[in-house]
């Protein structure tokens, strides 16, 4: 586990980072997010927790640029150069119809390229998709139909898609939902591998508090605004966490 650093200040000390300042999102006169400040360094895994409707997906969509917002979302490359960040996104998935004649290759090639996938796929494109899938150790999934994938396999395929082209920030919306324990462990190992290989920031939302401490460098408790930021232990033992979820967790994250 990497040493955890939680900076409150403005400066990234010339390391690459994502800064969110005073972010607010309003829809139909209803505030969805208010005055959110967040600071994420490259190579960090940050978990956002909060009850349903707390604004987790709204925060992600604002960072993705899909929603109008007030405030500032800023990305600095190493050396202090500011650019628009390239964001990779793993959305929550609908249930696929098992009969859908869509293979992983179809979905992948349609997402990353312009070659129409109803025509025979050129060897080079298939090779490229295969290379992308190998990043998540999923090369053997290429000809499977998407409706036949398990929850964990589907998440890995979507993860591979989000990594092409290689983003600065990777966002995963509840990646553990519909994934069994074995799949979850694989997925977390993979994220750990990805952040150290590609040095990118990973932002994910989850309802699984028990495993937070094992992989998250930083945990953010969100309910319209940020109630608490810190290590998993700090957040889970905080009075804010207890009042939001009405439950007490032990230091290992188990419900007591």
């Amino acid at each position: 586990m990497r040493p955890v650093s939680i900076h409150g200040g403005d400066s990234c000390h010339n390391a690459c980072c994502l800064q969110v300042k005073g972010l607010s999102v309003t829809a139909e006169n209803e505030p969805l997010l208010q005055d959110v400040d967040l600071h994420i360094h490259c190579g960090q895994i940050v978990a956002v927790i909060g009850p349903n409707g707390a604004g987790k997906s709204t925060l992600f969509r604002a960072i993705l640029g899909q929603l109008p917002y007030t405030g500032e979302i800023r990305f600095e490359r190493a050396g202090g150069k500011r650019t628009r960040p390239l964001v990779g996104y793993v959305p929550q998935s609908p249930a696929f119809d098992p009969g859908d004649p869509v293979s992983v290759l179809d979905l992948f090639a349609a997402a990353i390229g312009s070659w129409p996938v109803f025509l025979p796929v050129p060897k080079a494109l298939r090779r490229r998709v295969l290379d992308c899938l190998e990043r998540v150790h999923g090369g053997e999934l290429i000809d499977k139909r998407v409706g036949m994938l398990s929850g964990g396999e589907l998440q890995r395929v979507l993860l591979a898609m989000a990594l092409e082209p290689l983003p600065h920030i990777l966002i995963l919306d509840e990646p553990m939902s519909g994934v069994d324990i074995e799949g979850e462990r694989q997925l977390m190992d993979m994220l750990d591998e990805i952040r150290s290989t590609f040095d990118l920031s990973i932002l994910l939302s989850t309802h699984d508090f028990a495993t937070l401490g094992q992989y998250a460098d930083k945990v953010v408790l969100l309910k319209k605004t940020i109630l608490k930021v810190g290590t998993a232990r700090q957040v889970l033992s905080s009075p804010e966490f207890q009042s939001v979820f009405h439950l007490t967790l032990g230091s290992d994250g188990e419900v007591q």
Binding site: L64, P91, D100, S103, D106, G113, V121
Partner: protein, 282 residues
Amino acid sequence: MELWYSLVSLLPLDWARADAMFFMKNALLAILVISPLFGLMSTMVVSNRMSFFSDALGHSAFTGIAIGVLCGLAEPLWCAVVFSVALAVLFTLVRRHTRLASDTVIGVFSSTAVALGIFIATLDGGSFSKFNTYLIGDILSVSPGRIGLLAAILLAVIVLWLCSFNQLMLASVHPALADSRGIRVVWQEALFSCAVAVVVTVSMTWVGLLVINSLLVLPGAAARNVARNMRQYHLLCILFALVSGLCGLQLSYLLESSTGACITLCLAALFVLTSLLGRGRR
């Protein structure tokens, strides 16, 4: 057309001999154009769950024809084309701006359109029987001009497919993923709906309103039973449509029955066959 007629006369069929049965030769050409067109469109109609939508378009086309007849137009078909294209665009817009489920919206539009059509057709005690040809379809009504129009639409759909198929597929399979990749398919979907509207309306006069929708649904449904990816899906859709079209035409000639109905029955047989094959596979 002369070239086509002389080509067909090489076929070993009794209606293929030179200087006779030109309507059958026109029909054969029409089927060669329209089958790939319906097959191609069928892939999207079935994947996008648009079968009720395309059915409703067929019904609204009938209303358009009734309006055209009421206005005393020599060729009410064009009135029907305009009417159903307008409805297709309206559906697409209303679907985006309503809280109702889309099948409810389509049901509302479709039943209103049919009621309006019957109302106009029977106004002043008029007889409905003059509209029967539209319900059953009449192979004699295929004219070379219409075939040309359908060929142009086939070309347009192929271009749409080449340019936007990936986006349309992503948006239908995984809307959130498409959204996150900045894919918007509003105008592509509207364009596709209009193409469906025109094709359904123009070919309705010889396939028949009652069975036209089956040509848009059955090839896709049958191909889904066995296809494992998009290439197989498209290939099988077009193949099924083509084989059924040719078999149906010949059957209808031999049995002197409606061509549209014969083609549909062939497709239905293929659907049953592929269902059985598909069960064994899973």
